[in-house]
Symmetry: C2
Subunit: 549 residues, 2 copies
């Protein structure tokens, strides 16, 4: 009780101390004042048209100075490439302004996915070395076409209900499994089910069952989450089998690299994998397989920079479970010090517990392991989900996943900027999970205008059948950024993805060199007009197979 009182008293004292500072700072926006002084602001009406022109020029130079990419100096060759890119971007813009039904970022990705892939601008962006994808969930990054191939492997059983119409669970097993979470489920081999339902028919079913398609399958953020969690549940049986775990990861690396991504950071539950006989392996094995697979992939693809893991377990638990998470993450970090580098909590934020509930447990994480919190993935302003953003930042996160609600917290946004906390913006994910509909209204536009640290990522691209990162880049570049955002914006955004990664100084420097090499090659290809062909035509990396999608 005394401790509580003392804490309250201390708090009151600090709040009191804070008030004059706040008064001073909030009501005297020094930058605005300076600008206003410069403009001679008190009466803007008393001007000649010539004066006005000067005034406007000063203002627009302020804006330019402030936005993402202003610091980039393009080379002569890059300037030529820029002209070619901007020519395509302007073409899409002008078409859209003439007839808004032709502007892809005004629509849901499901409606325009294939149309976008035909766009010359998209094709340029797809080949662009985009640096790193820093916000990915490890079980939703290999294309569904590849996942469906896995269902042809030996020893795969499937539990169905409704006379085989609904798949409840997958499991690799020597014998027919006896238990299932589904009460009325019946087990049969995948081969039997394929025979029964017909190969093409079953493939079509799986493409829907394992994705967020069709558009009509949900209408609110809440429904979307239920749907999403259902997919993850179903994927578990396939991907957590020790014999698939590494292959899935290897294929994801391949697909991402082919899409211009040289580095990734994965959120993973780091599960206990299972074997054919039903036995379980310790969590560390999952990490080990990732590490060895990565090593192999890097040997085969020297241009690839690397991958790091963020330990990310489910958030809807009691504090003592979070304490367990913290312990497990610390141990994994000890065993894989350069590989398991961060901590997060995942799952729908709206449900149950706010981040603030776990503060004492979270603060026990050694501070060389960074926080990379999911936070503010909502449009319920003032809700506990919205407030998670406050805790994520005050807890000193290195990056924030989504932070969709950040523009509703201007002080917090400035604080994040000051402390170099980057936002992982995932445009397509936000749309599919029903936070917003039109990309032109995405809050990241404000981050771009304010030059708040941000990176573009794709979260679960496989679940919306999108390319690993290109669709998100396309929507950000065409739909979210301003019309005049150009190669400088793209270059800064790509570079930021390494800058705000968890790579240490030396790794960052090496990574930047690898990126720069591919970037220069890409600029050459653009300038030489070699990226202006249709999708099936060119491929910049001959020794890395293209994605199978």
């Amino acid at each position: 009780m005394t401790a509580l009182l003392s804490c309250r008293w201390q708090s009151a004292r600090l709040v009191k101390r804070a008030v004059p500072t706040v008064t001073r700072s909030l009501h005297h926006h020094i930058d605005t004042l300076s600008l206003a002084e410069l403009l001679g602001a008190t009466n803007l009406r008393k001007r000649t048209p010539e004066d006005y022109k000067v005034l406007r020029e000063i203002y627009t130079s302020f804006e330019r100075y402030n936005a993402v990419g202003n610091d980039i100096q393009l080379t002569l060759k890059e300037r030529t490439a820029n002209e070619m890119i901007m020519c395509e971007k302007k073409r899409e813009y002008e078409k859209g302004i003439m007839d808004p039904t032709k502007f892809a970022p005004g629509y849901h990705i499901f409606e325009v996915l294939h149309k976008v892939q035909e766009s010359p601008l998209f094709q340029m962006l797809q080949k662009m070395p985009k640096g790193g994808a820093l916000k990915l969930i490890d079980s939703s990054i290999s294309s569904l076409d590849w996942v469906i191939k896995v269902t042809y492997r030996e020893n795969l059983w499937v539990c169905t209900t409704n006379n085989g119409c609904h798949i409840e669970e997958f499991r690799f097993s020597k014998e027919k499994p006896k238990d299932s979470d589904s009460k009325d489920g019946e087990w049969q081999t995948m081969a039997q089910l394929r025979e029964y339902r017909g190969e093409e028919n079953l493939k079509k079913y799986l493409l829907t069952r394992l994705s967020m398609y069709p558009l009509t399958s949900f209408t609110t953020n809440d429904h979307a989450w239920q749907h999403l969690m259902g997919i993850f549940y179903l994927l578990q049986g396939l991907l957590r089998y020790a014999g698939v775990w590494g292959d899935y990861f290897y294929n994801a690396l391949k697909e991402f690299y082919a899409d211009g991504v040289q580095y990734i950071e994965l959120r993973s539950l780091i599960p206990s994998l299972y074997c054919l006989d039903g036995s379980r392996l310790p969590a560390r094995v999952a990490v080990e397989i990732y590490r060895d697979t990565l090593r192999q992939f890097k040997e085969e693809n020297p241009g690839f920079i690397g991958c790091k893991l963020i330990y990310a377990n489910l958030r809807h638990v009691e504090p003592n479970v979070v304490a367990q998470y913290v312990k497990e993450c610390t141990e994994l970090n000890k065993e894989f010090p350069g590989f398991v580098i961060g901590f997060d909590l995942v799952g729908q934020e709206d449900k149950e517990h706010p981040l603030s509930r776990y503060v004492p447990e979270l603060l026990k994480l050694p501070d060389h392991i960074d926080f990379y919190f999911h936070a503010g993935q909502t449009n319920w302003y003032g809700s506990h989900v919205d407030e998670n953003l406050i805790d994520a930042i005050l807890l000193g996160a290195k990056r924030i996943s989504h932070g969709y609600t950040i523009t509703k917290h201007p002080i917090l946004m400035n604080l994040a900027k000051y402390m170099n906390i980057a936002f992982e913006v995932c445009p397509v994910s936000n749309q599919v999970l029903q936070l917003g509909s039109d990309y032109r209204n995405h809050p990241a536009a404000t981050l771009i205008a304010e030059n708040v640290p941000m990176v573009i990522s794709s979260a679960n691209p496989a679940l919306w059948r999108a390319k690993p990162l290109s669709h998100d880049f396309y929507m950000a570049f065409l739909g979210i950024a301003p019309m005049n955002a150009d190669l400088k914006f793209l270059k800064r955004t790509a570079k930021n993805s390494l800058r705000f990664s968890s790579l240490k100084d030396e790794g960052k420097a090496k990574g930047m060199l690898k990126w720069k090499k591919e970037w220069d090659e890409w600029v050459d290809l653009i300038v030489e007009g070699k990226l202006m062909v249709d999708e099936k035509g060119s491929s910049k990396k001959e020794n890395t197979p293209k994605t199978s999608k």
Copy 2:
């Protein structure tokens, strides 16, 4: 040429002078720095849970301090009323969080219009004295039910195509009109058409033809505008008849006052009205009729504060026409000095000319007549429409209509705050004109968080069959503002509508007294539980008839 060079040189010099200021100001956010210092920011991870609690408390007090309404002190009675209002608000929130399909601000107004009217929160807000509605277009403010009654008046002719199925034009005339803008149109009396199509059928047709309903009638901002302009065109024939002009305005005043609005500012084209014999009256007559009607209404309703006119003509014209507008506005202001008080340009911003094109002409407006520009009513970031916002603010506007794109221009937003330029936020209009779909993503949330001057208005409520101002207030309070925004927010917003009006000091003081009287009565009614009945039940103003809607 010399002049141009000298101007360029001056500009270059000024820009050069600006750079160090910008560098200093943009990279040293003093407020953030102070906050960070206070937090001891460099490593937020090294904290005890108790320290963290204090830190979080300081931060949230910063946020509270900064938001709209923080300066309001509630009386004891208001606090009781606040609890009752917040109880209803929380009920709607909780229902929505449990099941988002039940949360009205997540939907299009057309889908939830009637459901909203049944909400106890809406009923409280409807009776609330909301102060002024500062952004209204004068030809879309009387309910359609009333407008349809006008079509029963004598001497009304109607020009139709498609065998009477499509109405092209209305006209009051002694004789059958000879001319029409519609090539194949045929004139008949309204009575004949009513006989031919059936009364109920025609009424239904008009309710659609004169409104933006149904939801499916357009899918882009561009289509919505075409539809809107079509309605305005059709209304002209009805409302610009000298015998209807004053009645329409009188009815609008009645409906607004019944909806808790005591003051309005109207954008008007101030047209030349026509008479039964087809002759035209000078524009000044339209103003005169407004003035006399207002005088009569104020005599009958001493609680009503008043109305002012903003001269607002169409923007898609050559600069010399804008010069004509400026001249006409100046003359009207000379004749009606306290009544015609401002200038604006209206119509779809996307089409054709930006504001910057008219700078020399606009600067000729005497500076006692204020600018109230429509600007930034778009989500095309970086387009000329988006840039209109820069010009509107740098030209020294007193208020900005919409400014939907303002959060993409943080420096401009701070400048507007510093110079007390208020944004006229019209939530429902923005949705119907397809700028955004979910109220929870409306950019005004940032204005609220930053305490940027703003007022809530309704633009053209009749065209979406909404109440004069209540639906906009409901969506703003429940959908845009944070969960904890309460009576302090409502009171500040109502007061701001008078504070940022064009009323002069004395008028403002008098107006505030009239508002305060009704506000106190409303608080009494809330506290006494008299507003908890269904819509048809209570009416606070016995001598002002309720709206006929």
